[in-house]
């Protein structure tokens, strides 16, 4: 007889026009690591929000049993009190406060009517030790990298005596090292009796860590797989997620000849006045027509900085050396507008932060970078705009009720497709994709890869920045590896392997 800590029965949750969850049931055993997988929009996050009380009792149907008792959470405070903690993809720390203030934020240690700061610091040290984070608790959270911030979040959860820890894509923003650390920590927590539910898209880490895997598809439970009874393969998970066999994760590209050099950087050197140091040093890269060039490197290696400094440099870096050539001509762009007009496009890694207009609809987001082409004089031809947006929606298979739907309400994969449509409408010569498949599901990934292949076959050049080694190897024709602001290697995709790349990525 297994000890069941959590059981959710027949959970149904509806939003206007959509049934996000349709009679979902699942069970979590005490002390296990339970992974929840599914395509974007499959209902994973919604399910966790039901569990944690973000969607209060009565806004859904079905029942939740926790430690054998039925629960009716009215808000997060209720679930937290019972020892359920949820850590979101977007971290909820306050950057300007110190680590110890953050850990005990909301449940401060009191001495009478005032906060006992000394005790707080002592206990914070203790929590940090538990998550194996060796930092001074009195530094500000904003000084820490994403990986360490994640650990602070977990320390915060532990300080609340968490029994059931929910992690929503904890490694999405982490590099390989930090991810490995985090997974190790999750294992140790589960050995100490903390039950973990983890949502993730990274099948490799799921198969490595999970005790049980539950697959959701279209708001319904497809199956729960016990990883101890028999080995679960990635292919099997993918099959359940998409409901069909996936032959290739990376679609085949017709072999074609590359054209002349489209974009070239020579000794590109960039200084960041805010950090007061050089962030890129003598980077030289070449991208030919019809070629996908991968740029790989660990977080902080300078990949996004490279892209931003090429694409109009809106962050205010100083280009202190080197040259850029576009189509053989020496160029420098003072702002993104100039870069766009010259034929560059940049799909950002942070689609919610600086990619999309979440409060605007799909139509708005698709046309914003190329309104010129829709204008007659100063007036926008809105009918033409709607037509174009509808064409993109259909051709890219964007799942939405209409192009008038707000982008903020779309799933990650569909948001990414909207971003891509926006930049395809600009018809660039060089398309820079920064982590194009971060946080999106297998099905949408495949569609995006297929699209990339079509684009290069039509003569576009693509620069793909990615942290995921298999993706870089699977998609690039050629790739550069970056480390600490310099290009440490150039490889042909056919001769490259993960070990070679990693070796270059950690060298300097």
């Amino acid at each position: 007889m297994d000890d069941i800590i959590l059981e959710m029965q027949d959970i149904t949750k509806e939003f206007p026009g959509v049934r996000a969850l349709d009679r979902v049931s699942f069970q979590v055993k005490r002390g296990e690591i339970h992974c929840l997988v599914g395509e974007n929009g499959a209902g994973k996050s919604t399910l966790m929000k039901v569990l944690s009380g973000v969607y209060p009792y009565n806004s859904y149907t079905g029942s939740i049993f926790y430690n054998g008792e039925e629960q009716r959470f009215k808000g997060i405070a209720d679930s937290e009190q019972k020892g359920i903690a949820i850590i979101y993809q977007e971290l909820a720390l306050i950057p300007e406060l110190t680590v110890y203030e953050n850990i005990f934020f909301g449940h401060e240690i009191m001495k009478g009517r005032t906060i006992d700061w000394n005790e707080t610091i002592v206990q914070a040290r203790d929590m940090l030790q538990k998550v194996k984070l060796d930092v001074d608790p009195s530094i500000k959270v904003k000084e820490l990298g994403v990986g360490k911030q994640q650990l602070v979040e977990i320390a915060k959860a532990l300080s609340k005596n968490v029994q059931l820890l929910i992690l929503d894509e904890p490694t999405a923003a982490l590099n390989e090292d930090d991810s490995e650390n985090l997974l190790q920590l999750i294992r140790e927590l589960s050995e100490r009796g903390v039950t973990c539910i983890m949502i993730s898209h990274k099948l490799k880490e799921i198969t490595a860590i999970a005790d049980t895997i539950t697959v959701l598809r279209d708001g319904a439970t497809i199956c729960s797989l016990d990883c101890h009874e028999n080995q679960v393969s990635e292919a099997e998970i993918i099959k359940h997620m998409v409901g069909r066999e996936m032959d290739h994760i990376y679609p085949r590209r017709n072999k074609h000849e590359f054209g002349e050099v489209q974009l070239e950087l020579k000794d590109w050197t960039v200084f960041d006045p805010k950090k007061d140091r050089e962030i890129l040093h003598k980077c030289s890269i070449q991208v030919r027509k019809g070629e996908i060039v991968g740029i790989q490197g660990l977080m902080g290696a300078g990949r996004t900085e490279l892209a931003m400094s090429i694409f109009g440099n809106s962050t205010g870096y100083r280009i202190t050396g080197g040259e850029m050539y576009l189509g053989g001509e020496r160029r420098y762009f003072r702002n993104p507008r100039a870069a766009i007009q010259a034929g560059l496009a940049y799909v950002t890694e942070d689609r919610k932060g600086n990619g999309l207009f979440l409060i605007q609809d799909i139509q708005y987001n698709m046309s914003i970078a190329n309104l010129e082409s829709l204008c007659e004089g100063v007036v926008i031809n809105e009918n033409e705009e709607i037509k174009v947006a509808n064409e993109f929606k259909d051709s890219m298979n964007i799942k939405a009720s209409s192009i008038k739907q707000k982008v903020g309400n779309l799933s990650g994969g569909n948001q990414q497709k909207v971003q891509l449509a926006k930049w395809m409408f600009v018809k660039p010569k060089v398309l820079i994709l920064d982590e194009p498949t971060r946080g999106i599901d297998v099905g949408a990934k495949y569609e995006i890869y297929t699209l990339m292949n079509q684009l290069v076959e039509s003569g576009m050049s693509i620069i793909m920045i990615s942290s995921e080694l298999p993706e870089i190897l699977g998609m690039s024709d050629r790739l550069y590896v970056m480390s600490e602001g310099t290009i440490t290697g150039e490889l042909n995709a056919e001769e490259a392997n993960e070990e070679m790349i990693m070796a270059m990525a950690v060298s300097s």
Partner: protein, 392 residues
């Protein structure tokens, strides 16, 4: 069966714009309340004409403020920029004896320059708009006082200038017992409206887009035509259309067109929604922001001219608390406190709410201090309601 589908369609339309309709209803309730309390004086043509002439400047300020608020900035200086502009107008007209039209042009250009200066502070020096315009509030209040220090209040004698906020569109030289030109303008307005609507519907059909069913479409046309006819009817029974109404109408149309049909308008909404995404989409965020501040101070100067014309004098007290009315009008009209959302047409309704409250309470002889309290409460209710409906 057919009736049911029509009802369904109307209900869906109503539900999609529920916030707007509640605002219209609120305005009607406020107007009905004052009509009842004043035994019908409020709704008389004479009073409504007065209301527009007295408070048209609030509408002008509110339209400019809407753009600023959509961009997630604020302009606190508008009141004293308006006051200062009025003082300049008085000095130019009465002391320098400059032609009325040239005076107006100079004052508007000064407004533009003020906006340029404040816009530069915000975009180049990155001073938060709140601080930059709070400083402006000090500076222009001071300049207003300095410029009128030697003379005190300047009485304006130019009849043309004073007509701006006291006069009406002149009638044709025939006497029919009502204002013929106003009626003609009204008929023309209704025709224009119908033609534009029909054209846009045809255009959408050409693209195979969904359009409202014919019966709903005709209902909408009739409904809005009736409203225009009613307003025109009331005005025609008095002296016709106030000049201020024409000025406000023109400003409204220009801004409505700019925000909804041009690239600049798109960019304004984009920057308000996510400025870094706008920058990376090729929008010149600084230039658009600078434009917004220029437009704001330009309109503040126009408001100053209207106010001065109404009082037929430039006084050192002009401009007090104008910014409060302008900001409140925008928020009551549904501009999102978090930016990125707002429509000038609804802002005009918000301004009408504020204007009706002021006018109605004045008619009732309510003490000015109480008026502030009442306006504050209405303001809070509107914004609280807005935040609630938006979070759904």
């Amino acid at each position: 069966m057919k009736e049911q589908t029509i009802r369904k369609e109307i209900l869906a339309l109503l539900r999609a714009n529920v916030r707007d309709y509640i605002m219209y209803i609120a305005l009607v309730i406020i107007m009905a309340f004052f009509t009842w309390k004043t035994n019908g004086v409020f709704i008389q043509a004479r009073n409504l004409s007065n209301l527009i002439n007295q408070a048209g400047y609030i509408a002008v300020l509110a339209i400019g403020m809407t753009v600023i608020l959509i961009l997630r900035h604020i302009d606190l200086s508008v009141g004293y920029v308006a006051g200062f502009s009025g003082a300049i107008a008085g000095i130019l007209l009465e002391q320098k004896h400059i032609n009325v039209w040239l005076t107006i042009l100079i004052v508007l250009l000064i407004g533009l320059a003020i906006g340029f200066y404040q816009g530069l502070l915000v975009t180049r020096l990155k001073v938060p708009a709140f601080v930059a315009t709070l400083a402006g509030m000090f500076i222009f209040r001071g300049l207003l006082n300095i410029s009128l220090q030697s003379t005190g209040t300047i009485i304006i004698t130019s009849a043309t200038f004073n007509l701006l906020s006291n006069g009406f569109v002149p009638d044709l030289p025939v006497d029919l017992g009502f204002h013929l030109l106003t009626v003609l303008v009204g008929i023309a307005a209704i025709c224009c409206f119908v033609v534009v609507q029909v054209k846009s519907r045809r255009n959408r059909q050409k693209y195979n887009f969904q359009v409202p069913s014919p019966s709903v479409f005709i209902l909408k046309l009739i409904g809005i035509s009736v409203i225009i006819a009613l307003i025109i009817g009331v005005l025609a029974s008095y002296q016709g259309i106030p000049l201020t109404a024409i000025i406000v109408g023109v400003v409204l149309m220009i801004y409505h067109f700019m925000l909804n049909r041009t690239r600049l308008g798109r960019y304004i909404y984009g920057i308000g929604g996510n400025d870094s995404a706008a920058e990376l989409s090729g929008v010149n965020v600084k230039a658009v922001t600078l434009f917004a501040f220029c437009s704001m101070s330009f309109l503040a100067s126009l408001a100053g001219i209207l106010y001065t014309s109404r009082l037929q004098s430039a006084t050192p007290t002009a401009g007090l608390a104008f910014e409060m009315d302008a900001i409140a009008s925008s928020y009551i009209g549904g501009v999102a406190v978090s930016g990125g959302v707002g429509r000038v047409t609804n802002t005009l309704i918000g301004a009408l709410v504020i204007m009706s409250l002021t006018n109605g309470m004045n008619l009732l002889g309510v003490d000015i201090s109480f008026q502030y309290v009442v306006k504050g409460i209405i303001f809070i209710i509107a914004v609280a309601f807005d935040v609630r409906t938006r979070s759904k």
